[in-house]
């Protein structure tokens, strides 16, 4: 099996653009992903749409440009286009029980517009169901709508902590098949050296991302955990790019400086620290943030850190890494991830988003809540919402739950 070199170990030279705030840099990296896709389309090259945890290394190695519907949907939702797009999809016959990202994406594919985050229409789609089972039907619909190839990688749900050998063999065969299909689409041969370089970039990005996230361990934290939601876009869309790794390294350096200088991107009191569980309600980010900042509750743990911060040294480890996504791991692994970051990042409460768009994720939350209460001994509170459809969120209900959590944390603090 090919051994992959790890660029992160090589102490790369500091990026030339260190003066630019990392958040600006990170934003530019994402913009470039989309611009590259537009340019490729302009040149007549095939452009793909990809699930967020499809092995990006394959398309990148073959020089194929891809866009990410989940990221696009989040951007459209954050800019308040979610309801319009969801309603468009519903008028096409897609039920409002379906994931909001899927509805936005299907609406965009059907020509609904989406000026909030435009991207070229797809010539092929890359689907991997490790992130959610909903992806399969979503991408089948995209492929049928545009009459284009669907490259599917099926990751079996992991009922145990370990990934079994049969699954590795099964997934490896699918990787090989995906490479073959994408060779035909791109008209290029898969280059192992290029693949090793791309994987090294992905590892370097993942390590830099994990490092940046790890600064939440400091008390007070040098960052607002909500920043990580925004920076997620780079981990999803540009993991295999050197620029992405460099931008995250710059972000980690900024946090390091913040620690040294006693600064933080969290500009409020840090009375309490919580884990925010789940995808945020993108259309209502300000409303989510408001009671937290007013009460001095910083988010210092988000599950995206372990979920997207994976590093591997060879193809088998890479396959194992792709088996570990939020909706493809068993309850025990999911609890272990979360309780790990809760302890490391010293949270005294957990705020759980029961996301109407994400049934698999929200489905096992009641049991997770029970375990958090038992194992962590902290206040755990849930609220109803949606990652993209604003109709599923009630600000008054959310505020009451946050206030209740705050009062529990205050009482526990005074009891110490």
């Amino acid at each position: 099996m090919t051994e992959l070199k790890n660029n992160a170990q090589s102490n790369a030279a500091p990026p030339a653009e260190t003066e630019k705030p990392a958040k600006v840099w990170l934003r530019e990296v994402v913009e470039k992903v989309y611009q590259d896709a537009w340019d490729a389309k302009e040149r007549g090259e095939p452009v793909g749409w990809s699930a967020s945890k499809f092995p990006a290394e394959i398309a990148e190695t073959l020089g194929l440009r891809v866009c990410y519907p989940e990221n696009q949907a989040a951007a459209i939702a954050a800019k308040h286009g979610g309801q319009r797009m969801c309603e468009y999809a519903e008028a096409l016959g897609y039920d409002n029980d379906i994931c909001g990202y899927a509805r936005i994406s299907l609406a965009y594919a059907a020509g609904a517009g989406g000026d909030e985050r435009p991207m070229p229409q797809p010539d092929f789609v890359l689907c991997c169901n490790n992130i959610c089972n909903c992806m399969t039907k979503w991408y089948e619909n995209l492929a049928r709508m545009h009459d284009i190839p669907l490259i599917m990688i099926d990751i079996p749900y992991n009922n145990t902590d370990e990934v079994n050998e049969e699954n590795i063999t099964y997934i490896k065969a699918q990787f090989d098949d995906a490479i073959k299909q994408l060779e035909e689409i791109s008209g290029r041969k898969f280059d192992e050296d290029k693949f090793a370089e791309v994987c090294a970039n992905a590892n370097r990005t993942a390590q830099a991302w994990l490092k940046a996230c790890s600064y939440c361990q400091y008390k007070p934290s040098p960052l607002s955990g909500f920043d990580l939601f925004n920076h997620m876009a780079d981990v999803v869309t540009a993991r295999c790019r050197k620029e992405s790794a460099e931008a995250f390294e710059a972000l980690a350096e900024e946090y390091e400086r913040n620690v040294a200088e006693g600064k933080s991107t969290w500009r409020y009191d840090e009375n309490h620290r919580i884990m925010f569980e789940g995808i945020p309600c993108w259309p209502e980010l300000q409303k989510l943030f408001k009671p937290l900042k007013e009460k001095g509750i910083n988010t210092t743990a988000v599950v995206y850190a372990p979920a997207f911060g994976f590093v591997y040294n060879n193809m088998e480890e890479m396959i194992r890494a792709y088996c570990k996504a939020p909706n493809s791991v068993c309850l025990e692994t999911g609890v272990e991830w979360r309780e790990g970051i809760c302890r490391e990042n010293k949270v005294d409460g957990v705020l759980v988003h029961y996301n109407r768009s994400c049934k698999p994720w929200s489905g096992y939350m009641p049991e997770m809540e029970r375990r958090f209460r038992k194992n962590l001994g902290v206040g755990v509170v849930g609220f109803d919402g949606d990652q993209a459809d604003p109709r599923n969120f009630s600000e008054a209900q959310y505020n009451t739950r946050v206030q209740g959590l705050f009062e529990i944390m205050e009482a526990q603090k005074k009891g110490e």
């Binding site: 029970r370 206030q403 529990i408 009482a411 009891g415």
Partner: protein
């Protein structure tokens, strides 16, 4: 300082105002120990309810607003009460109110106008954790309001009619709108209203019972909120959860009571 029945008031008072979605409740307490006056108006946030309920307790007690050392608001409309010195969530207030009434209480089931919540409190009456209903109004007071209207019975009569049921009907929908359709279908089949009502109570108990199981039931279990006054729901919940569940005459005032107690605590802190 005001006078009560010609006697100079020497005691200190606090006020708790619970502005819910369907009712406003207010309590004045003397020195955090004794309820001096209480009032309830059947309209809540955004209505004349809060002003009227405050006016009513002041009239009953012969006190003035200036006599209050601290006024605390709670409930859905807690942010809108200008005269309040502070506010707290109804969760903490229910915990405090219930503990005041019955110090052995560890689990509180509160069914209000538009939400249902289950709270766990510790041996000092401090809120440890809670779960609330999701966005859906199924299993709340509003659910019963809608059903009573469809059945053309008074809300207060639900309990009595339910107790007369001989043949309970199953209402399977948790959605208020779908459950309403089920009730209409049952009425069209000439099913006795009492049997439908018992089924409605069972549906509420099933929904709220699931919430209670999520947080885990520890005795003593107390039921608060307006729906607690309907013994049909309380008994259905007892059967559902296989636990004794008690309530008190102050069930609907419990949030306001907790707010008045917290208000008193805040005023004492200020003195220190």
């Amino acid at each position: 300082m005001s006078e009560i029945a010609g006697t100079a008031v020497s005691r200190k008072y606090s006020m708790g105002v619970d502005i819910g979605s369907t009712a406003s409740k207010c309590i004045i307490m003397a020195e955090g120990k004794e309820i001096v006056a209480k009032s309830l108006i059947d309209v809540g946030a955004g209505t004349s309810g809060p002003d009227r309920v405050i006016a009513a307790v002041l009239k009953d007690s012969g006190l003035k607003l200036e006599d209050m050392t601290h006024i605390m608001s709670t409930g859905y409309g807690r942010h809108s009460l200008e005269i309040a010195h502070s506010e707290m969530s109804e969760l903490s207030c229910h915990a405090r109110g219930a503990y005041f009434q019955h110090p052995a209480v560890r689990t509180i089931i509160d069914i209000g106008g538009q939400d249902a919540k289950v709270m766990r409190i510790d041996e000092n009456g401090i809120l440890e954790n809670f779960v609330m209903n999701d966005k859906c109004a199924a299993g709340t007071g509003r659910f019963l309001d809608v059903m009573a209207r469809v059945l053309e019975v008074k809300l207060d009569d639900l309990e009595k009619l339910s107790a007369e049921s001989q043949n309970e009907v199953r209402i399977s929908s948790t959605c208020t709108v779908f459950a309403e359709s089920e009730v209409i279908s049952q009425l069209a089949r000439n099913t006795h209203k009492r049997d439908i009502i018992k089924g409605i109570h069972r549906a509420v108990a099933s929904r709220v019972g699931a919430l209670a199981r999520r947080i885990g039931l520890v005795d003593d279990v107390m039921m608060t909120g307006g729906v607690a006054l309907n013994d049909g729901v309380r008994l259905a919940l007892e059967e559902e959860l296989e636990h004794d569940i008690f309530t008190t005459e102050l069930a609907q005032y419990n949030g306001a009571l907790g707010a008045a107690l917290f208000a008193w605590q805040r005023s004492k802190k200020k003195e220190i």
